[in-house]
């Protein structure tokens, strides 16, 4: 019995393969988008974890040379003898790879490769073999004679680790170490650092500088996009499952009438859907893997560029990711199909003549959904007004999107009713009325289109605003035409050399200091038109630069102001006993931690030990190539010590172009998914529409005209949806920029509008809807008259 019933259920897909394809494609695309984003995020996070574990970046306090440079091994021995639980680390560059040497016997738990490298035995480090453990990409470029290199995917990209002795030998740093890691638990009695090693400084663990946290915002945005895309996909699946169930309702009824128990039939349908979900999920995983593989190099470059983090440019297959992708496909299908299965379980065996009451019930349910949508939108407004924090931001996003999707059919219906009231001819009257009648069947697909376009408007606006702000910031920050670096000994000769050839030399000097209880940096700025002309402030007192030049205050970046709750006029302690009022707050989008800027004179008096070794040079742009040539060829400055501003700007812009590639790709995919939703709904409705269209055809409308009307209808509905999606997308962008990003980044980006982009997006939406409607319209235009006549032949 079960086999016969199952074969009967499955025969529906055999007879309607297109419906099966759209159902599987919808679910597969939804899973693909979701899992691609997850794969990218997982890959990047794995890279951070590896980076964090490689050197405990920020986890442990470190002891470094006060003056910079290396530390003699004797200092390490002195500290150990003085009761300090420290572990030596040497690091340097070898063939472009960051080589780290550690001493595993003294390294604190959770630090270094023993924590991360599978198969890395202590013995490997302490015996003479001392292999190099390296990320696979790094391992490929580390062919060293007599040294075994073991590829290890869990290590940070571009990094290799080995025993400290081996590293010292390879780096030519025998007897020297770079720093010492300080174990978290220290003995109660130990000698003072200043007594044991006066040239060394204790650097506390870096708060807020965990790379994973810095990039959370980028991932948050990606995840939000992935979730939205999945929601769009779920709407498709819901629509497909609902319509497939609707089409099979008579078959299900017949099977039950012929003796199939309702419970078993429901289980069979659920199992059938689960199988389809697994199959579609598997296809989606493969697609997601391909999408992620294609996008990851751009994402990796973006993260590297913005945050300086090393993310592998190739994708690793992670079983947990595959399982979660399949699970999300199953859960998504279950969510999408729950309503249809519930209806099926409760479906009366006998068809009761209650069509009018069914229509009334459907109208009631549509009204209830609209009311619920209105309530959600109102709640979102309340959250926007009174909420704070990331959770509130996401609650606001959820309320807005779900509320808008629920209220959309009512809004479109009102617009159509208005059109109907203005219709004059019989054909237009029928068109408006018939379009309203089609709305319930298409509302899910239209909701998918709404979410897709709103997500596109929102994310594009956010990324474009980010780009505009960031390029403005780059222009402000990289005002000097050339940047040069040298060592302390080279400063004087360099200044003498460049002096006659440039308009101004601007020293770049900074020192790491705690600011308002947070880790930060203090910069010294020379009073020069470069700053006065280019820097803009988010908030400031009058005559900022004059007062700064007079040493009457400091300028702080937005991160510091937000985290410490500072405003212009508030005092900020920049040195023991010296608190200066804040004169201005500037946007700072290239740096995660707090910064304060004082005038050069004050900086030099406060930190006389810090001598600038980096300089910005102002000169006419056309003279830059000549000076670069002179610096490298005549003066002998290494090329890497000379940075051309235009190159730097080009690099920064390239990073944003890559970011755009990612968002554009996701945009197009999401719109494609929404287009698919419309196609599927229209195709499924097409079969049911014949009884409604046949009389109109019989009354004198050609099949071609009917097809044109169907196309026009789809475009009209898509246009109305796009009109609703635009404000929704802009609100979405505002939430991302003003709430989510502030929480994640610590800065608020100004929101810019891009009308031309929206027009382009609107056209893309219409094209997606038009393409989706084209096939059903063509099919209708080519419907044989016999098929239309059958409608009348079946009438009894």
């Amino acid at each position: 019995m079960t086999a016969a019933a199952l074969a009967t259920l499955l025969s529906h897909w055999r007879r309607n393969p297109l419906q099966l394809v759209t159902l599987v494609a919808g679910l597969a695309l939804a899973t693909a988008l979701w899992s691609a984003v997850q794969a990218i995020n997982a890959e990047a996070r794995a890279s951070y974890d590896a980076a964090a574990a490689t050197l405990g970046e920020g986890q442990f306090a470190q002891i470094v040379a006060t003056e910079g440079g290396t530390i003699p091994e004797a200092s390490f021995v002195a500290l150990r003898l003085g009761g300090w639980l420290v572990s030596p680390v040497v690091e340097g560059r070898l063939n472009g790879i960051r080589l780290i040497g550690i001493e595993p016997l003294t390294a604190p738990g959770g630090f270094g490769p023993l924590a991360t490298v599978e198969g890395a035995e202590l013995g490997d480090f302490v015996t003479g073999a001392a292999p190099l453990f390296a990320h696979p990409e790094a391992a490929a470029s580390l062919a060293l004679p007599g040294v075994e290199v073991i590829a290890q995917a869990d290590l940070a990209p571009g990094t290799a680790i080995t025993d400290i002795g081996q590293a010292q030998r390879l780096l030519g740093l025998e007897g020297q170490i770079s720093l010492m890691i300080v174990a978290p638990d220290q003995p109660l009695q130990q000698g003072a650092l200043a007594d044991l090693a006066p040239d060394l400084t204790l650097r506390p663990p870096v708060e807020g500088a965990d790379p994973a946290r810095l990039s959370d915002s980028f991932h948050l945005n990606l995840t939000a996009f992935g979730a939205l895309s999945f929601a769009v996909g779920l709407l498709i699946v819901h629509s497909a499952v609902g319509l497939a169930f609707e089409q099979r309702r008579p078959t299900i009824r017949t099977l039950r009438a012929l003796g199939m128990p309702g419970g078993r039939l429901t289980v069979l349908v659920a199992a059938e859907l689960a199988l389809l979900a697994l199959a579609a999920g598997a296809v989606g995983l493969v697609l997601g893997y391909v999408i992620a593989g294609a996008l990851l190099p751009d994402v990796a470059a973006t993260l590297r560029g913005i945050y300086g983090e090393a993310v592998a440019g190739s994708l690793a297959f992670r079983p947990a990711w595959a399982l979660s992708g399949l699970a999300i496909a199953l859960v998504g299908t279950a969510l999408a199909a729950a309503g249809a299965l519930w209806d099926m379980a409760r479906m009366p065996l006998m068809e009761v003549a209650q069509s009018r009451s069914v229509v009334l019930a459907a109208a009631r349910s549509a009204r209830a959904r609209a009311v619920l949508g209105g309530v959600l939108l109102a709640m979102a407004l309340v959250v926007a007004a009174f909420g704070s924090g990331l959770v509130a931001g996401f609650a606001l996003l959820g309320g807005l999107l779900v509320g808008a999707a629920l209220i959309l059919p009512l809004m479109i219906d009102r617009a159509l009713a208005f059109g109907q009231s203005r219709a004059t001819g019989p054909l237009t009257e029928w068109f408006w009325a018939d379009t309203r009648a089609q709305l319930p069947g298409l509302s899910l697909a239209l909701a998918a289109l709404l979410l897709a376009m709103a997500a596109n408007v929102g994310v594009s606006t956010m990324v474009s605003s980010f780009r505009l702000t960031f390029t403005g910031f780059i222009d402000q920050r990289l005002a000097s035409e050339l940047y040069v670096y040298t060592d302390e000994a080279g400063v004087e000769p360099l200044l003498v050399f460049v002096g006659p050839q440039v308009e101004a030399v601007l020293p770049l000097m900074s020192v790491e200091r705690e600011l308002a209880g947070l880790p930060g940096q203090i910069y010294g700025a020379r009073d020069h038109a470069t700053y006065r002309d280019n820097w803009t402030f988010l908030d400031s007192v009058p005559d900022v630069w004059d007062r700064l030049a007079a040493g009457e205050g400091v300028i702080v970046n937005e991160q510091l102001a937000r985290r410490a709750g500072l405003s212009p006029g508030d005092p900020l302690t920049v040195a023991p006993g010296l608190a200066l009022p804040i004169l201005g707050i500037h946007g700072d989008y290239g740096n995660p931690i707090g910064q304060a800027i004082v005038t050069e004179d004050l900086f030099r008096s406060l930190f006389p030990e810090v001598a600038p070794t980096r300089f910005g040079l102002r000169l006419p742009p056309d003279q830059v190539p000549a000076l670069v040539a002179a610096l490298t060829e005549d003066f002998g400055l290494p090329e890497v010590n000379v940075v051309n501003q235009s190159d730097l700007k080009a690099l920064s812009l390239e990073i944003f172009e890559r970011t755009f590639t990612v968002t554009e790709a996701l945009n197009v995919l999401t719109l494609a998914v929404a287009g698919l939703a419309i196609l599927m709904s229209l195709l499924t409705l097409a079969g049911m529409r014949l009884p409604q269209l046949a009389p109109v055809w019989a009354l004198g409308l050609t099949r071609l005209r009917l097809g044109q009307v169907e196309l026009l209808r789809a475009l009209l509905l898509a246009s109305l949806t796009a009109l609703c999606a635009l404000p929704l997308g802009l609100v979405l962008a505002w939430v991302l920029l003003a709430i989510v990003n502030v929480e994640a980044f610590g800065w608020r980006l100004p929101m810019f509008l891009f009308p031309l982009d929206y027009v382009r997006l609107g056209l893309l939406t219409l094209i997606a809807a038009g393409l989706a409607a084209l096939w059903p319209a063509l099919r209708l235009a080519r419907t044989p008259p016999a098929a239309l006549l059958k409608v009348f032949a079946h009438e009894r």
Partner: protein
């Protein structure tokens, strides 16, 4: 007695309260017997048929089919009863659109675990469906669909065949042929037939006729 309906009442909800459809109907049908159930539209014929088929439950009264008290069965028991003891020819045929004619005919017999390809062949031949076996219902005329529905009901060798307007879609000559075949097949299996019909000609071919008027046996 194969089928016994005792004091059956049934009503449906209406805008101004319940609308009685059957009001204390008593009916019996013996194995091998054929009965025509006639009456005006709205007299309760189809409702009575659905109750006899265990598709619906009466408000009161008892139904016994082949010794089983139908009213005491749960959904699963009623489904098993329909599957194994009852063959139904629906007014709207209720063929599965995604199955071929051959698969439709075999469907209930397969579900009941009594599929006999030889019997299917004989049925198909006697009902003139041989050229249409590979077709789908939408490719058939109304009469062909009706014959397919009849074949499906008979293929499972049920004890009771319930038919709602079994020749309603057919012209007189075809209807006559289909009725001949159906009665012959019913006689061959020893099943009982209860047919709802408006046609006096069909009713005249049955061994008994019962007329319903306003929910009561007239």
């Amino acid at each position: 007695m194969l089928l016994t309906l005792h004091q059956i009442t049934k009503s449906y909800p209406g805008p101004e309260g319940p609308v009685p459809v059957l009001q204390g109907v008593d009916l019996t049908l013996a194995a091998g017997e054929t009965m025509a159930l006639t009456g005006e539209s709205g007299s309760g014929k189809s409702t009575l048929l659905h109750l006899a088929a265990a598709l619906d439950r009466p408000d009161s009264g008892t139904i016994t089919l082949d010794g089983t008290l139908v009213s005491t069965l749960d959904d699963r028991g009623r489904a098993a009863l329909r599957r194994s003891r009852v063959g139904i020819v629906f007014q709207q045929f209720n063929l599965v659109p995604s199955l071929t004619v051959a698969a439709n005919i075999a469907l209930q017999a397969r579900m009941a675990g009594r599929h006999d390809p030889d019997r299917d062949r004989a049925l198909v031949e006697s009902l003139g469906l041989t050229p249409h076996l590979a077709k789908y219902p939408e490719q058939l005329s109304g009469g062909q669909q009706q014959r397919t529905a009849i074949a499906r009901a008979l293929a499972a060798r049920p004890a009771l065949i319930l038919a709602d307007e079994p020749t309603g879609n057919l012209d007189e000559a075809t209807a006559e042929g289909v009725l001949d075949a159906m009665l012959a097949l019913v006689a061959e299996t020893g099943a009982a037939l209860l047919a709802v019909t408006h046609s006096a000609r069909v009713a005249a071919r049955m061994s008994r006729q019962v007329h319903l008027r306003e929910g009561r046996v007239a």
